[in-house]
Amino acid sequence: MSARTSTEVREGRSAGSAGRPGGGRPQVQQWKDRLEGSGIPWILPAVILVVGLIYFSIGYTGYVSTLDWNGFILSPADHVGASNFTTMFSDRVFWLALQHTAVFYVVTFTIQTAIGFFFAALMHSQLKLGNVYKVIIFVPTVLAPATMAPVFRNIFDTHGQFNWLLEHVGLNFLARPWLAENGTAMPVVMGITIWQWTGLTFILFYAAMSQIETEILEAARVDGAGNLRTLWSIVWPMCAGTTAALAVLGFIGALKTFDVPYLITKGGPNHATEFLGTYIYQTMVQQKHFGYAAAISIALLVLAIGGGVAMSIRNRAAEGK
């Protein structure tokens, strides 16, 4: 039956196309050519892979977020609808994690940008041993947080090197258990993150500054602009694209923050360094609430996509002005 239908269709199409210019080529063949021209067959394997692995996982996470499940495949799961999301919106720790993420993003992005931009400008001023400084600034970026975590735990311990340093420069009154106090644990986490990622910011600004035409800088000099004026009015605006890209990357990075707070403070004390990533890990691995963890993951995804898109739109609008 199907073979017959197929033949009829083929015949029908051939007849239908006979009157067209260049007719005689079967319509199926034309369709195939169009398909080939579109490139779809060539990207199909990649599409299958991406849809299969990534978007299926996202969809599955969305499905799990409607379950009350301990995560073990043989264990039964109860469908709870939107209950996990309702719980999430009334969860103090969830909002605390969001608040920490916002503060963390603003502080780390601002400081990293300022230091990275400053160092990049400095390195463009024909400094002696410039390459050595570049390596020194960039090295923290390639060090694994897991490797550095015990070192930082030691440095910021009550009897650690940071307090030792404070005591030896006459600032004894500042010495404290940095990782054990709510007010100081987060600044330590932010400080470590800035130490780690400023190298990347520096490299990107350095590359962006290399693209600025020397004639523009020379014209500014001729017009009487000093170093600071040139930096502020010429170099900084011309690095706006880099700054915008770093802002988006930093935003998504802040939402995904996990390794430093988990390895240094475990999200504590008293959730003082809790982020969405650490909270998801806690609810999923330690408390076995896979459904609830999936709901927070979906929230994280929505925030990352929504925030990223909003920032891109804003940047494009700014570029258009």
Binding site: K32, P41, L44, P45, I48, G52, N70, G71, F72, I73, L74, S75, R153, F156, D157, T158, R176, P177, W178, L179, A180, E181, N182, A185, T265, K266, G268, P269, N270, H271, Q282, V285, Q286, Q287, K288, H289
Partner: protein, 501 residues
Amino acid sequence: MTKVARQLALKLNLAVRKRFAFLFRSPQPLNPHRSGRQKEKDIDMSKKTFGKRRRALTASILGVALLGVGACSSGGGDTPASPGSTTDGSITWWGWTPDKANADKLIAAFNKEYPNIKVEFVSKPIDSYDSVLSPAITSSDGPDVFNVAPGSANGGVETFQAGAIDLAPAVTKALGSDWKTKLAASGVDGLTVGDKVVGLSAGAVYSGSLWINQDLFDKYGVKPPTTLQEWKDVCATFKAGGQGCFVQGAGQWAFDMDTFEAIMENVKPGAYVAASKGETKYNDPSFTKGLEIWKSLFDDGIMQEGAIGLQQYPDANNAFMAGDYAMVMMGTWYTQYAVKDSMVAAMEAAGVGSPTPFTLIPIQFPDVAGTGNTNLMFGDADYGLAVSAKSQHQEAATTFALWLTTSQAGQQAVANTLNDIPSLIGVQPEWGSIDLVNSDAQLAALKNLTDVAGAAPRPRFASVSADLNTAFRDALIGVASNDMSIPDAEAALQAVVDKQK
């Protein structure tokens, strides 16, 4: 079914490689002087060939995808595993404990009786144990024997009971119908779900004791504290001499729960467990008293400064092993470090160069509430052995699990590692063959610890759910750091228990 699927997948894989080969082959050079007709012919041939290849490629991808779906579906099914032989086979044992050295000792002792059962121990980190075990025990390629734990810990029986066989018939056959009376209660109830014996306890760990560096106590001329006031005085003496007194990694709240349960056992024995089961309320005055004492450990100079910024492992353990502190809150698992070699290894791991082992002694938790309720420890099975329902060697796996957990020889081997208190009642470590650091000073205390622990009436974590565990973290650290009032902490704990009802 899985084997068939695998073979089909292999064949398809080969077919796909064959089909994909054209993508990697260098194209045949075309003759630039071809005739126009030859060119048309080449183009036509090329279209035909690529058309066929595309169809074949699409079919292959779809085939692989369908096979994958089929294979995934079969993985979760209840495929009966072939049981195999009771005395012959090759099995794999997954667990977070014991460490490799002790596991090798246990397996060597087992092979003296069962030389034809080869056991491979695969050590898995405790933090990721659940994540790696979950997929593994749904497959016949996973472990034959795996560790399970009571309560809310990783490897919890409640979570993994669906992937294990019921060991009740096997243990009844081995020890008789009264088998429960021959094993420590802590190892039976905590590893049973409903009527299903999910795991059999190899040994138990108990907490509620403190460990001291006797050499430091001798050096400073102080005696182990027996009351809260004595504890404060001892710490004041150590501090005056620049020596750390008591160390706890209070950021790792499982050990905070140990200390708090020890306090509560002293204030009102049984209240801690009763409240976790919902049999009493957390606003009972005994809990207020217990939390006040807990807070005073931080406020009155017993806990080291910055305690809640540290983890028990590695921070507090290393600091104690390095001699920076004279006391630490640890349980019976610390007995292994009373042995010379183990202590030297632990000190080296803590960063001590050329270590000289010190006299490690267990003492009972001080009478901090002045009630006289002392010598009360609490514990759970350290780990139980479960046999995978998907194992192809279930009989051999069951032989191993039963030998280690219920036989005299197996339990003696467990006892001699000094890592766990044996599950089989009456088995003691062979102290005469164990090389203690300072036998004269240690032996009596270690024997007493074993006796007190063996008689421990209450569980450690078995009655605490994962949610309550987390609530304890917030409550104990919150109270200690003045971020939560005692009534708020009690209310938060009660709310979790009420929700579970």
